[in-house]
Subunit: 566 residues, 2 copies
């Protein structure tokens, strides 16, 4: 009934890029795509793209020292000398996450946030010991899962301390127990997406949490930032599927109950979800799992415009349609997706036929692509009826399967763009359905205007795209992607200006500052407005109760506080 898993194996960090996305061995499929780059240059109002390569690690100096010997020896004694690492690669790899802001810094060779060392604990006891040691010695500790945060969640910041170490959980990746009767699984928090799903699917089960970072990100990271996977419509966000957690803190272990529901006060697991490493280090989690579905179909629909597509998604979400995903791209995102085709030619001949057909059906002007993932025939049928009702054209499974095949590839494109003087970044939010149209329009306009103000030459412009990626009975998530010519003499200022404009528009229009990426460093300027002064006080009080020295993940989630007493 209860099945205990064996020990897993961490991912070798050297196989993953230190200053870009994903596998070091990943081949740049876009390198030879001159057609694509020409098209893009024209879209961005640039005569041609530039060559803007990143600086290699060998050229760089790592500021800040390694650990003093006594500290190093103390950590060796806790975790084993081979698990306390301070090579240049390890320190650079753990200096930052993978936000656009992070990539700008990494590519420019700014490693000022490199931790003094990286510790790979082998179990919860070692995590507790490291935290107790660090609290005593006043060393900052930055918990690190897959390192794929795109909001500055794993920056190796020291805060008010002399030294920071990264605590890389990737060696803690065992499946501990699968409880098939209750439909739950318990695993160490460092387990990554593929390892977790492999262990579960061997038992016919799945968590169904498939974020774009799936190959690299970890169970603990998903919970720490309250992530949502692509199939969240069916499987929920981390806050939904989390049943229980163990949180190692400088004051000891906090273990939350594993009840299906409880009225015994506030649920402490709800505080672990979204804690972003500032309250403690998630060492273990129990999650709700489900049978692997018998069916798994990705299907495309084309709506004549964004409002009609939005109405269809809202209708489905309100009706409790069980689709696993309903991902509706706006007209601009649809145009880009079509341009990229199946990562084949920019415009295939077949597309011209399709255009003619779509025009006939009233979809030609501003068509919007929806990709639906269906895991049972009932939700597929009922969504097909909704799509028809709102005038969509069924594109069959070809469009859907094309999207699925490439769904983990897009982050690599960001590096290819950065190599060519082009920036690409994201913001995302969520609001109630009543506010979603205004939120969409205002945020889109704010990003577009900010890009125009920051582009390096007259006439240059950005592409601002959006999709509804996650939907709920009461509202939805909007995810904006924007591509723009880099202001090479002020890359970070450019990003900051666009980010600020987008965030101000989001907050002013009733959106949350993040639906699924977290707060990290990037959203700090808006968190107090969202949570309120008393809300921030509450979060600070929780932190003080669990991490009185304030060593955990400095500078994330909570804005800088008033000066400390004493």
């Amino acid at each position: 009934m209860l099945i205990r898993g064996g020990a897993g194996m961490g991912v070798d960090r050297a196989k993953i890029r230190w200053n870009g996305w994903g596998w070091a061995a990943h081949k740049d499929e876009f390198a030879q795509r001159d057609d694509l780059w020409k098209w893009l240059a024209s879209e961005l109002g640039m005569p041609a793209l530039l060559a803007t390569p990143a600086r290699p690690l060998e050229e760089l100096e790592l500021p800040g020292g390694k650990l003093p010997l006594p500290d190093r020896e103390a950590l060796n004694a806790i975790a084993g000398a081979e698990n306390v690492r301070d090579s240049a690669y390890e320190r650079a790899f753990h200096a930052l996450g993978r936000s656009y802001h992070d990539l700008l810094r990494l590519r420019a060779g700014d490693l000022s946030t490199a931790p003094a060392a990286v510790v790979y604990p082998r179990g919860a006891d070692e995590v507790l010991a490291v935290l107790a040691f660090a609290a005593r010695e006043r060393i900052a500790v930055v918990p690190f899962g897959g390192g794929t945060s795109v909001v500055g969640g794993v920056t190796g910041a020291r805060g008010p301390f002399q030294t920071a170490i990264a605590l890389d959980l990737s060696a803690m990746d065992r499946m501990i127990e699968v409880d098939a009767v209750s439909g739950t699984a318990t695993a160490e928090a460092g387990i990554n997406g593929p390892a977790l799903e492999k262990a579960l699917q061997a038992k016919g089960l799945t968590l169904g949490h498939i974020p774009q970072s799936f190959e690299f990100s970890t169970l603990g990271g998903w919970i720490a930032h309250r992530g949502a996977g692509q199939l969240s419509n069916r499987y929920g966000c981390a806050g939904d599927w989390l049943v229980a957690a163990k949180l190692a803190t400088p004051r000891g272990m906090l273990s939350t109950g594993d009840f299906p529901a409880s009225a015994a006060g506030p649920h402490l697991a709800d505080l672990v979800a979204g804690s972003e490493g500032i309250f403690g280090v998630i060492t273990e989690a129990t999650v709700r799992v489900r049978p692997v579905p018998a069916m798994n179909e990705y299907r495309g629909y084309l709506f004549r415009d964004f409002p009609s597509g939005t109405a269809a998604v809202r209708t489905a979400a309100r009706d409790g349609n069980g689709a696993a995903m309903l991902r509706l791209a706006d007209a601009e995102e649809t145009r880009l997706l079509r341009a990229f085709g199946a990562l084949g030619k920019v415009r295939r001949a077949a597309d011209k036929l399709a255009d003619a057909y779509l025009k006939l059906r009233g979809c030609a002007d501003r068509p919007c692509l929806l990709i639906g993932a269906f895991e049972d025939p009932v939700s597929r049928r009922s969504f097909a009826a909704i799509a028809r009702r709102f005038g969509a054209v069924d594109l069959s499974t070809a469009a859907g399967e094309r999207w699925r095949r490439t769904r983990f590839q897009l982050p690599y494109l960001r590096d290819s763009l950065l190599d060519r003087g082009v920036g690409v970044a994201k913001v995302e939010t969520a609001s109630s359905w009543a506010k979603i149209d205004a939120l969409y329009a205002a945020t889109r306009a704010a990003i577009d205007a900010a890009i125009r103000e920051t582009v390096p030459r007259e006439g240059a412009r950005g592409m601002v795209m959006c999709h509804i990626g996650h939907s709920y009975p009461t509202g939805a998530c909007l995810g904006f992607t924007f591509v723009f010519p880099r202001a090479l003499d002020g890359d970070i200022a450019q990003w900051s200006k666009i980010k600020t404009a987008a965030s101000e528009a989001i907050v002013a229009n009733g959106g949350t500052i993040s639906h699924h990426l977290g707060v990290g460093e990037d959203h700090l300027p808006w968190i107090a407005q969202e949570k309120g002064a008393l809300g921030i006080d509450v979060l600070r009080a929780i932190k003080a109760a669990l991490d009185p020295e304030g060593i955990l993940n400095p500078g994330k989630l909570l804005p800088p506080g008033p000066p400390e007493d004493g």
Copy 2:
């Protein structure tokens, strides 16, 4: 699109019993039921039942004084003199809730917890002003919704202070806004079940939260104790349908975001749910609402035993069967329900025919009644198939409708029993499915043994009943009801002994100390074990951040802390 409601009107407290359940005008349907009382005496191993009436209010003295004049005048200035009340009836009404322990004290005339006055604020500003005043003057404040807590959640305890006042929210009962596009509604927290549903159903919507206390309890109370209604399988518990809340605290108003989902740190609404009045006073809430279902059918099934019924409920919950309720009584509870019949004769002639039929179907020995509530044909059909698979007999809608008609009546029976020397109390819990069988057996045995140890005479015994009232993909709630001869010379000690035995069994077998009733005073001895020492520290830190003087609802939810510094 957005519909604003008008002002409501509170319920006149004089129309509700001060020392028992429900409407003062309620007629005791059981008074003349000698057949029932004879049957019960025989079941309990007693020669006859006794006459044990409650003491009338006129006989009693109210210990503790009224408010000193300056305090009274300050409150008058805030809330209006007519809304600051201190008649004997008001003070007695607000002295305690409606737990078995409360009823024993009220019926014996123990009004030692009567508040010095009762304030009925008319809006959030007045609540904030009362809290600021009370914090300044060091007066305890006990938030009071419907007063139906059955865990000691509204005891007018003074804690370390000289004086306590009750803050009765029942005049704050306006529907503020119905957002039909987003499927949410915002109301003042003092609105009670019927008023809330009336306002929603006028717009074709429903919250679907129908606890047994529905007629009296309030939106704020449901959230404060993380309640679950009878239809929770479909509509969820308070923690599920709560979207946003306003919590008035001595330090000001905490307003949580109304997003459908957010990754901007822990959700503060999750801290309001289950806060039991110790962090603040819920003044307003936004909740998820749904269309009133076209269909609404209550149907009975008889299973041959509890394990086969449990397996059917688990199968339905795991499969995502959309039944609104699947309430499975164990054999003992089924026996009592049949004895009470349709509140008609103890055993109707028709029941003998039914017995013969059930015996033929293998259901005669220990049959277990399941009442299902279905709001769509799909869930009804799919549950019918599950019931057949597990060998249940379909009892049609007659059994279901009988249950529905009497679902709010049973709490009145408790008073009738108490009048006759018979006690009746409840405990409830939840666990994962893997633990549920052992939890059921151990808790049942513990209650049975404790009753036998405490009954007033040799050979007397209790009836211990249980039902699965709420079920989830990962587990379920067990609700135990037990009826027993009162130990009239030590009523409270008897209750304490049984309650302790039940709670110890629950905690030892992996159950939560409460699934839907809350912690209050009654579950304090076990809360630290459930939350852990660090968990309690976290909750204390939150309280200190919001209620630094500790004036709010003393003695609830959190165990007595270490002596304060200074």
